[in-house]
C-alpha cells in the first residue's frame, strides 16, 4: 500500500488531474452554498415584501379610529362589514390568516383579538377564528419585540418566520407572518394587522431547485474537469512523459532513440525534445570517441610493453654467458624503475682474448630514453667490435650520436676492454661513475680516472684511455647512479660509502652473490619508497688458479699408474686435500678401468683424460672412441643383500657416483664422454 501511495504521489498525471478534480469539487461546493444562501435570502426578502404589500392593502380596510369602539362592542354594523371584507380578502388573497389585534402596550405581553379571518384551504389547516375580545398571551419574545417596534418605533412592517423542518408536523406548518400597524386619524398606532402565509409549498419548490442547481453545477464542473484533464494529459503530460521516458531509456541503453521533433505544438515541449535528440546524438558520438580512444590507449600500452621487452632483450641476460670460458666469472642485472628506463649494460667478445664491458645511463625516462639507449648501445658495440681502443670508440660514438641528436639527449658511458690472457684492462669514461675494484685479499675501492664529457653533449670531444690490470682473484664492479642515489622515505640516499661497505661485506663471494647482496641491501634501505631510477650493476671476477690439463694415452691396465699420477698431479696444483684426492682417484680408476676393459673389445684404443678447475671445483673428463657405452645405464647394486647374493660387479660405477658430486655421460663426435665434477671446498671429506 505504501508503495502504491508513493508511486501515486510521484505521478504528475495523478497530482495534476487530482488537483483539478479536488479544486472543482471544492469550488463547486462553495458556489452552490453561496448561491443557495443568496437565493434563500433574496426569496425570503421578496416574499416578505410581497406579504407586506398584501397586508398593507388589507390594513386599508380597517379604520383605526374605530378600534376602541369595536373593542367596546359598539358600531356592530361597521364591525361586521369590515370583518366580511377581511374574510373576502383572506379568501381572494389566498392567505392562511388575517387577524387584527390590539396589544397591551404596557409590556406587549398580551393582546386582544379585534378581527380574525381564516382560510383553511390555503394550507390544509383547521384554525378556528378568534372572537372579538378574545385575549391571548404573546407567543414569544420575538413577537413582543416586533409589536413594540411597530407601536413605538414607527416600523413600517415586521416579519416573523416559522420554519418547521420536514413539514410533517401539522397543524404547525412553516409560515410567514407579516405585521403592519393600524393607525388612527392622528397617526397613532392603535392595532396591528397580521397576515400569515404558508411557506411549505415555497420550501417544497425551493428544495428541488437547489438540488437541480447543485447537480448541474457538479456536472458542469466535472465536464470541465474532464476536458481540462484530457487537455493536460494529452497536451502536456504526454509529451513530458515521452521525453522523460526517452531520457531514461537513453541513460540505460546508451543508444540513440527516435524521439519525434514534433512531439507537441508548444514550443516549450518541442524545444525539449529537440534538445534531448541532439544531446543523444552528441553523447553517443562522445561515447564512440572515448571507446576508440581507450582502445587506442590500450593498444599503445600493449605496444609499450613490447617496447620494454625489446629493450630488455637487448641486455645479455643469460648467465653464465660464456660457460666454456673459465678464466672469468661475470654477472649483471638491470632493475628498471616504474617506466621504461634508459640504463644499459653490455659485454661481448671483440676477439677470442678481448672482452668488452659497457655500462651506461641515458638521461631521461620513458620511450625517448629507451630509444636513445638502444641506438647508443648499438653504435658503441659496432665501433668497439672494429678493435679500436675505448677512447677512440667513445670519440667516434660521440660524433655519431651528436650528429643525430636533435632531441638533445645524452648518455654517460664507461667502456672497458679486457685482455683475458694478461688481465690488462683499458677503459674510457664519458661522465660515468668510477668503477669499484677489489684486489685479491683486499677491499673494494673506487678506481678513479679522468672523466670525459657525457656522450651526445658536444661534437669534437676527445676521450682518454685509462689502463690498469685485473689479476687473478681481482673483482671489478660497475654501476649506475641508481645504486648510490637510491632514496628512502626520509629522503636519504644510499651513497657511495654505503655501497662500498655492502660490497666489502660480500667481497669473498661470486659476482652473482655480490649483486644479489647489493640488491637486498638497497631494497632494505629504500623500504617502501618508490624506485625512481634504474638499478644497473655488473661484476666480473678473474678466476684464481684456473688450471686445465689433458693427457692422452693407450687405454691399458698398465697405464693405470701413469694416468693416476697425472690426475693426482693436477689435483695437487689445485691444492686438493688428500681425502678428496683419494675419492677422485677412486672414481677415476673405476672409469679408466672400464674403458680399458670394455671400450675397444679386443683391440687397443686411446683414452683422453682432462683435469681442469680452480681452488673451488674440479672437473674430470674422460673420452674414448670405443663402442658407445653408457656406464651410468645400469642400476645401482643392491647393498642390502647378504654376501652370498651380492653381485661382484657394478660396485665401480656405484663408487664413482658416490665419490663425485656429479657424473654425466654423453656420446658426441663418435666419442664416449664422461664428465665428473667435485667441489674442492666445503664438500665431503674435507674435514
Amino acid at each position: 500500500m505504501k508503495k502504491f501511495l508513493k508511486k501515486i504521489s510521484g505521478s504528475l498525471s495523478f497530482n495534476v488531474i487530482g488537483g483539478f478534480v479536488g479544486y472543482t469539487i471544492i469550488f463547486g461546493l462553495i458556489i452552490v452554498t453561496i448561491s443557495n444562501i443568496i437565493f434563500i435570502n433574496t426569496f425570503k426578502t421578496e416574499y416578505a415584501e410581497t406579504t407586506y404589500h398584501m397586508a398593507d392593502a388589507a390594513s386599508a380596510l380597517v379604520d383605526g379610529a374605530y378600534i376602541p369602539y369595536f373593542l367596546k362592542g359598539e358600531n356592530k354594523l361597521e364591525y361586521s362589514r369590515i370583518q366580511r371584507e377581511l374574510d373576502v380578502c383572506c379568501e381572494k388573497m389566498f392567505v392562511s390568516i388575517i387577524y387584527v389585534i390590539a396589544v397591551d402596550q404596557s409590556d406587549y405581553g398580551s393582546y386582544i383579538s379585534v378581527f380574525n379571518s381564516v382560510n383553511n384551504e390555503v394550507d390544509n389547516t383547521n384554525y378556528v377564528p378568534w372572537e372579538l375580545g378574545y385575549k391571548r398571551e404573546t407567543s414569544n419574545d420575538e413577537y413582543r419585540q416586533k409589536y413594540k417596534a411597530l407601536y413605538e418605533q414607527g416600523s413600517t412592517y415586521e416579519t416573523v418566520y416559522r420554519i418547521r423542518s420536514n413539514g410533517n408536523e401539522r397543524p404547525h406548518n412553516s409560515h410567514i407572518t407579516t405585521v403592519v400597524p393600524i393607525k388612527n386619524h392622528t397617526g397613532e398606532v392603535v392595532a396591528l394587522l397580521c397576515m400569515q402565509r404558508p411557506l411549505d409549498e415555497l420550501l417544497d419548490k425551493m428544495f428541488p431547485y437547489l438540488v437541480t442547481v447543485s447537480i448541474s453545477a457538479f456536472m458542469f464542473a466535472n465536464l470541465f474537469n474532464v476536458l481540462i484533464s484530457l487537455f493536460i494529459k494529452y497536451r502536456i503530460i504526454k509529451p513530458v512523459s515521452e521525453v522523460s521516458e526517452e531520457a531514461l531509456r537513453f541513460a540505460e541503453e546508451g543508444t540513440k532513440g527516435n524521439l519525434r521533433n514534433d512531439i507537441s505544438n508548444y514550443k516549450v515541449f518541442s524545444d525539449l525534445s529537440t534538445s534531448i535528440n541532439s544531446m543523444e546524438t552528441d553523447l553517443t558520438q562522445y561515447i564512440e570517441d572515448i571507446t576508440s580512444i581507450t582502445a587506442e590507449k590500450e593498444r599503445i600500452g600493449a605496444e609499450l610493453d613490447i617496447a620494454k621487452r625489446i629493450q630488455f632483450d637487448m641486455l645479455p641476460s643469460i648467465f653464465p654467458p660464456f660457460p666454456d670460458r673459465k678464466e672469468f666469472d661475470i654477472y649483471a642485472s638491470m632493475t628498471p624503475a616504474k617506466e621504461v628506463g634508459g640504463d644499459f649494460y653490455n659485454f661481448f667478445f671483440i676477439d677470442d682474448d678481448h672482452l668488452a664491458l659497457v655500462i651506461a645511463d641515458v638521461s631521461g625516462k620513458g620511450i625517448p630514453a629507451a630509444l636513445f639507449m638502444m641506438v647508443t648501445s648499438i653504435i658503441i658495440s659496432d665501433i668497439a667490435k672494429t678493435g679500436k681502443t675505448p677512447s677512440e670508440v667513445l670519440t667516434k660514438a660521440n660524433e655519431r650520436i651528436c650528429s643525430h641528436n636533435k632531441a638533445d639527449m645524452f648518455v654517460t658511458v664507461w667502456l672497458g676492454v679486457l685482455e683475458i690472457s694478461t688481465g690488462r684492462l683499458i677503459s674510457s669514461n664519458a661522465g660515468h661513475e668510477d668503477p669499484a675494484v677489489c684486489r685479491k685479499n683486499g677491499d673494494f675501492e673506487l678506481l678513479k680516472s679522468k672523466h670525459g664529457l657525457m656522450l651526445g653533449t658536444l661534437e669534437g670531444i676527445k676521450y682518454a684511455d685509462f689502463e690498469f690490470r685485473l689479476n687473478k682473484g681481482d673483482k671489478l664492479f660497475l654501476y649506475t647512479d641508481g645504486v648510490h642515489e637510491a632514496t628512502n622515505e626520509q629522503d636519504e640516499m644510499f651513497r657511495i660509502d654505503r655501497m662500498l661497505d655492502t660490497l666489502n661485506s660480500y667481497k669473498e663471494k661470486s659476482p652473482t652473490e655480490i649483486l644479489k647482496g647489493m640488491h637486498n641491501s638497497i631494497n632494505t634501505f629504500v623500504g617502501d619508497a618508490p624506485q625512481f631510477d634504474d638499478l644497473t650493476m655488473l661484476c666480473i671476477e678473474m678466476k684464481d688458479d684456473f688450471v686445465s690439463e689433458s693427457l692422452t694415452l693407450d687405454a691399458t691396465l698398465d697405464n693405470l699408474d701413469k694416468a693416476d699420477s697425472f690426475v693426482g698431479g693436477v689435483l695437487d696444483k689445485l691444492g686438493c686435500d688428500s681425502g678428496i684426492k683419494k675419492q677422485i682417484a677412486l672414481a677415476f680408476e673405476e672409469c679408466f678401468v672400464n674403458i680399458v676393459s670394455y671400450a675397444y673389445g679386443d683391440n687397443c684404443g686411446k683414452a683422453e683424460i682432462t683435469v681442469e678447475g680452480d681452488r673451488s671445483k674440479v672437473t674430470l673428463i674422460l673420452k674414448d672412441s670405443g663402442s658407445p657405452f653408457d656406464p651410468l645405464g645400469n642400476p645401482d647394486p643392491d647393498l642390502s643383500l647378504s654376501v652370498q647374493d651380492r653381485e661382484i660387479g657394478g660396485l665401480g660405477v656405484y663408487l664413482t657416483k658416490k665419490s663425485m658430486d656429479s657424473v654425466a655421460y654423453e656420446y658426441t663426435d663418435n666419442q664416449n664422454v664422461l664428465i665428473m665434477e667435485k667441489r674442492l671446498t666445503g664438500g665431503v671429506g674435507s674435514e
Binding site: L557, D558, L560, D561, D564, S578, G579, K582, Q583, A585, L586, E589, E590, V593, V596, P637, L639, S640, S642, V643, Q644, R646, I648, G649, L651, G652, Y654, L655, K658, S659, G685
Partner: protein, 102 residues
C-alpha cells in the same frame, strides 16, 4: 703393493701395504687363493693400505664368500679413507671390521 702373511695354526693374517688398485688386485687375489687351504680364520690387516678401489673390493668380497664355507673372516685396522669406501658399499654390514690396538 707388498703383501705379507702370518700363519698361526688355522688363523691366517694377511697384511697389505700400499694401494689395492685394478692393477694390483689380481696379485692380491692370487695371494689369497694360494694361502687359503686349511684356514678357518682369515684376518685382513689393512693398517698400511691407504687405497682400495672397486677391484680390491671385489677380491675382498670373493674371499668372504669362500670363508663363509670354511670359517670366519674379519678386516682390521682400516684407514679412514679406505673405511669411507667400505661404508659407501655397506661392507660393515656383511664383514666384521675391527680396530685393533697397534
Amino acid at each position: 703393493m707388498n703383501i705379507s702373511k702370518v700363519r698361526k695354526f688355522d688363523t691366517l693374517t694377511i697384511n697389505v701395504e700400499g694401494k689395492i688398485t685394478a692393477q694390483t688386485a689380481a696379485e692380491f687375489e692370487n695371494f689369497i687363493n694360494d694361502n687359503l687351504d686349511g684356514v678357518s680364520n682369515l684376518i685382513l690387516d689393512l693398517k698400511d693400505t691407504d687405497y682400495v678401489s672397486s677391484a680390491g673390493l671385489r677380491v675382498i668380497l670373493k674371499a668372504k664368500k669362500v670363508m663363509n664355507t670354511q670359517g670366519t673372516m674379519k678386516i682390521v685396522n682400516v684407514q679412514e679413507d679406505v673405511m669411507r669406501t667400505f661404508v659407501m658399499v655397506s661392507f660393515p654390514d656383511i664383514i666384521t671390521i675391527e680396530q685393533l690396538p697397534i
